[in-house]
Subunit: 139 residues, 2 copies
């Protein structure tokens, strides 16, 4: 089948399918005499796997690793579970950072009238933060 069909069935855009191939995430697709890429059910299954893991937030690098684990029938399930757990921990970390920011913004918003008046503690804080959230350096 053509790339358009493979795209429809997998939910991965044709653009991305070509890109994944170009960066080596996917093997080079078979070609028809006219130069068109040719896909079978096997390839579509791989694309769906990629789509699914991308939707779950894994990076292309991680997806690449997961694909390798998937095709290696003998790998211990521990390896897979570890990847999942690392990703969960990563999400937890990011969420906790975002919550800290939310807390700060909520506190600031609470003290701001939010009406016609022009004085605004939010901007005052942005200009000269009292609470030292900002102190955390980038890694």
């Amino acid at each position: 089948m053509n790339i358009g069909q493979a795209s429809d069935r997998s939910g991965v855009s044709a653009k991305m399918i070509r890109y994944y191939e170009s960066v080596g995430l996917l093997p080079s697709a078979a070609r028809r005499p006219n130069g068109y890429r040719d896909y079978g059910d096997q390839e579509v299954a791989v694309l769906q796997f990629v789509r699914r893991t991308r939707d779950l937030g894994f990076s292309l690098d991680e997806v690449s690793t997961l694909l390798a684990l998937w095709s290696n029938k003998k790998r211990p399930s521990r390896d897979v579970k570890r990847m999942a757990e690392r990703h969960i921990a990563d999400l937890e970390h990011r969420i906790s950072e975002m919550r800290t920011v939310m807390r700060t913004l909520r506190d600031l918003a609470k003290t701001c009238h939010g009406d016609e008046r022009s004085d605004c503690p939010i901007l005052d804080d942005f200009a000269a933060p009292k609470t030292s959230i900002t102190q955390r350096r980038k890694k």
Copy 2:
């Protein structure tokens, strides 16, 4: 003062200061006869404002708007509060998406032995998801 000093005092890298200037987030810095950029306390204050708002996760576009609000003494505080609240809502949204993913991954990880055995429900799900989280299309 030179850009290096301004960088140290504001916590914004020299590289980024130049970049912010180049994209119009900041006005062109004054120049010394030798071509070096010249900064005063005023400019450093602006840089700190940028640093702070960036740390809170505002995009450069939003920072630009916030800078305008900051310098416009007559704007209603409502405008500022609205920006803060929109950002909070955005964070809430992203967090909720991430939590959905976490829930899925936790469920999957729970069913995976995570030992020497090779059978792994996580990969099985990636290949053919039962729970239709993935069904949410991108926007």
